[in-house]
Symmetry: C2
Subunit: 409 residues, 2 copies
């Protein structure tokens, strides 16, 4: 059902030297399902992360933040699906810490060197005992070429595993980038429910890792939305194993820094787009470009209003060029001094509205033609500046309601 | 399909002396459907209004604002359904003005004394010629006891006409209040797509009319949401015909002012609740009370986040006590320094979460019992102050998608 999103081929996912992955069936919520993943990181890697801005963040996010703040090395990630360990109070925090301790004791690490991640149902106690019981098998299975299994092992309502690889030339060496992500509901900027893990063997100075991770999130996962719900558990982790043998990237605006950032952003965007393409019930992939704004922020405000409007999203689902709904969303996005007489609207190549009203040459049949496509670009001109922003989203279908009405059944 | 919303009985709607209503079938969008309403207001009335905050407001809203600003008396309202005259640019403005002129010429008024209202599809040219052709019949039919017809004549996707009456004792006289409204999609605070018209024969000094109308909107229509889309056309009009023969209300904090405000607010809330009960696809009526906030605004922010969450709304539709979704919405509502360890959650009488986690005594069967009801109260305690706010909403069902995917078909 995902929109133009083929499943990855395991052989196309390049191993990243310094990262091994083990996946097992721990029976966390359902039997016979890969639901527990460990990522083992060799010493010497640089790791950074950004997390949900939801104030009701999950226990594992709180623990990750603590471990990040401790300045410890990061040597293992432990990821479960089936239970988000969110809305679980002090008990949930204890369970997340127990999970880290169990991993650490098996690997001879300190608990702070282990980061926990959970996704799934909120407000249910995390079955730590099942996770601990599965750890030995997951660790024993760890290999460098298990990215496809990891993509499977972190899915919730995703219908397609999400994994992409790329290569780039950095400092005269060929570096590898491989990442996985999962959606697929509770998705909106800042950030999606969404777990994203991207690894590279490139050499990156620890001092620029956090900025690099933030820029990747801002250019990819923070630009997608499915339903406007910001999850409690969103996390994006960037691992640089420093194995490629080139001089470490010390500045993101150097030639190597730019090249690495671009290559990483390419993978991050593929992962983020995949979340939208596999958005719950999605039948269409919509790109919303807002230009002519005074600031990037106001362009994002407008793009997000369009992307979140249930009326716009159901019109896309119906292939109905009821495009006034887009204009209405532009109007309520929150730009107080917006002049509606300057608004332009294109749907792909079709000029729908000019100066705030229907374009004289616009024919409904033209709008209908574009609306029937599975990939559509909405372009809005605000006529008040030179800034722009892009958001990617999907439509709102019957299946979205079915999936979310039945999710726990 | 509306939730506990019986159709009004025409005989229960009290005429308001000084207001006559005529409704006709003008064939604006569909044949054999009441779609054109005129409200004729005798001289000496006080009229005020509040309008959508959508910056892309419809042509009739712009014309109403001009006529309101002109300080002219208001002697007639002309309301059509089937076409919103929004997203129609300069041509749409001209068509709204032509409509006013046509009404004015038939009644011996100036155009500024006529206020136009439109609801229906956006970005289609308003068929002024059909409206004008229907005016004579509508005006000729005008009588004081036609409120029920008016409620029918302003419907779009509403399934039930919305009209309520009340009486109150003001200044030793019995005054009458009668109002009508329409929804039922594109509904959110500030304001719903939503037309609301409330008339009373009470005597109100013009100097307090605008404040009175604003307070009515803030206490009713601005507290309801169906899908979070703020319409281009929202309008609430308050008419006081000054016929009741008591000393005019000069201050809203006087005894008479408070009594009148309370009686008007009672009708306004019934009209606003009716919009939610008849929300597109609604199967449940949800009251969201947020308390323990530092400010009313932050309580409304949280209540609105819960009310707008597609995940929360689909859980209500499914009667699924997946209540962590409510906690997630609390977390992303936008209170930066929220302490999740202080959050309490009740579902009717069931204590679901305490100190940010599942309540030890909470049983899923208790949550399930409440979720199956057609009327549910969600109560969230923020634990950081003494302020509170309430928002009313409905669930998100398959029928919402169907209605909005098929609206123009």
């Amino acid at each position: 059902m995902a929109v133009n999103l083929p499943a990855p081929v395991a052989a196309d996912l390049h191993p990243v030297p310094g990262v091994r992955i083990g996946v097992t069936e721990a029976g966390i919520r359902k039997a016979q399902r890969k639901d527990l993943t460990v990522v083992l990181i060799e010493p010497g890697a640089s790791v950074s992360a950004v997390f949900t801005r939801n104030r009701f963040c999950a226990a594992p996010v709180q623990v990750c933040r603590e471990h990040l703040a401790s300045g410890s090395a990061v040597r293992a990630l432990v990821i479960n699906t089936g239970n988000a360990n969110a809305g679980t109070g002090a008990d949930g925090l204890q369970r997340a810490r127990s999970t880290c301790e169990a991993v650490a004791s098996r690997l001879g690490l300190r608990a702070q060197e282990v980061w926990p991640f959970s996704t799934g149902v909120i407000m249910e106690p995390l079955p730590v005992e099942r996770i601990v019981a599965g750890l030995d098998a997951a660790i024993a299975a760890a290999r460098e070429d298990r990215w496809f299994d990891a993509a499977l092992g972190i899915m919730t309502t995703d219908t397609v595993p999400k994994a992409f690889s790329a290569r780039a030339q950095i400092g005269g060496k060929t570096v590898t980038i491989t990442g996985i992500s999962k959606g697929a509901g509770m998705i909106r900027p800042n950030m999606a429910t969404m777990l994203g893990f991207i690894a590279t063997d490139a050499c990156v100075d620890p001092s620029v890792m956090q900025q690099l991770c933030r820029e990747l999130a801002d250019g990819s996962f923070n630009c997608v939305t499915v339903d406007g719900d910001t999850s409690t558990n969103d996390s994006l982790v960037l691992i640089a194993t420093n194995r490629a043998g080139h001089v470490p990237v010390q500045a993101l605006d150097s030639a190597d820094g730019k090249a690495l950032r671009a290559a990483l952003l390419g993978v991050a965007r593929q992962l983020a787009h995949a979340i939208v393409r596999d958005g719950e019930g999605a039948t269409k992939f919509i790109t919303i470009q807002v230009e002519g704004g005074r600031t990037v922020d106001e362009c994002r405000l407008v793009a997000s209003a369009i992307a979140h409007s249930p009326l716009v999203k159901t019109a896309f689902f119906a292939s109905d060029p009821n495009l006034g709904r887009i204009l209405a969303a532009v109007g309520y996005a929150g730009i107080e001094d917006l002049d509606q007489a300057l608004i332009e609207l294109h749907l792909d190549d079709v000029h729908v509205a000019t100066r705030g009203g229907r374009h004289p040459a616009y024919q409904e049949s033209d709008g209908q033609r574009v609306m029937k496509q599975s990939e559509i670009t909405v372009r809005v001109g605000l006529g008040r500046g030179t800034q722009a922003a892009t958001v990617w989203t999907c439509d709102l279908s019957h299946d979205y309601v079915s999936i979310n009405a039945d999710y726990r059944s």
